[in-house]
């Protein structure tokens, strides 16, 4: 493992933007990684934090959200855990159907699933793990010198 970040956030939506930038600034190891972090990871982390604060913690300002970031050579993993009772991620409808596409909400989990390489919940449903595969520095070096 190259780097690990673990911290807790107050249940405040205004913290999300700064948190996302803080994490990205500490995980961007090269240009290719930065490109994948630019939107895929930023959006997914913002979605996970939003879900944790609004749905998981029920917008309760006394609750907290735990953020764990693990940067490996080939992947970046973020685990976001709230204090809620959890939810069933299989019960989220497809937001891209003709009927649902006109709805205001319901795209958060869909975006996470499409922008990250892996999204999994714990059994309780109050902790989501996001995995983004990164091109290894060895492979990038090989490609650059080829």
């Amino acid at each position: 493992m190259q780097r690990q970040l673990v911290f807790e956030l107050p249940n405040d939506l205004q913290c999300i933007e700064e948190t996302v930038e803080f994490v990205v600034s500490r995980c961007s190891t090269c240009e290719e990684v930065a490109r994948k972090l630019r939107v895929n990871f930023r959006v997914s982390l913002a979605e996970a934090l939003t879900n944790a604060m609004i749905y998981g913690n029920g917008s309760d300002p006394s609750k907290r959200v735990r953020v764990e970031i693990f940067l490996y050579t080939c992947s970046l993993t973020a685990r976001i855990t709230d204090e809620g009772t959890g939810f069933d991620p299989h019960r989220i409808p497809d937001p891209t159907t003709p009927r649902n596409v006109k709805k205001v909400g319901g795209r958060g989990l869909f975006l996470m699933r499409n922008l990250m390489d892996e999204v999994r919940y714990n059994d309780r449903g109050n902790s989501v793990t996001l995995v983004l595969n990164l091109p290894s520095s060895e492979r990038l070096s090989r490609e650059a010198s080829a």
Binding site: V39, A46, T50, T96, V101, K102, R107, F110
Partner: protein
């Protein structure tokens, strides 16, 4: 982050500087609704200087588009970079909005 409102003839242009996310979506919504209340009906939201948009940001665009249309107007988008366009394509919102490649093209489309 900031939303800059300006007028180009009949079109109200909204520049999204930074992120359009859960923490600031209400600010954008209020600014557009204020303009709508003042009688403006043509809106162009320009994303030239936008970093990323989350699902709340996409949602507020859907909501505003609906409200503007209910008043007989239209809200269009412009200058989505490749990453942002991917978000609209993934969510199929590219089928809901008229999206121009550039601000000038967006202005000319009204």
């Amino acid at each position: 982050m900031a939303f800059k409102i300006s007028s180009q003839g009949e079109v109200t242009v909204v520049d999204v500087d930074g992120q359009l996310i859960v923490g600031n979506r209400q600010e954008l919504k209020q600014k557009v609704l204020d303009e709508l209340e003042e009688g403006r009906r043509k809106f162009l939201v320009d994303f030239t200087d936008t970093g990323y948009i989350d699902s709340s940001g996409l949602g507020v665009l859907v909501s505003l588009s609906k409200k503007v249309r209910e008043q007989g107007g239209e809200l269009r988008l412009s200058s989505l970079n490749e990453d942002l366009r991917t978000l609209f394509e993934l969510t199929k919102l590219d089928t809901l909005f008229r999206i121009a490649d550039s601000r000038d093209e967006g202005l000319a489309s009204f």
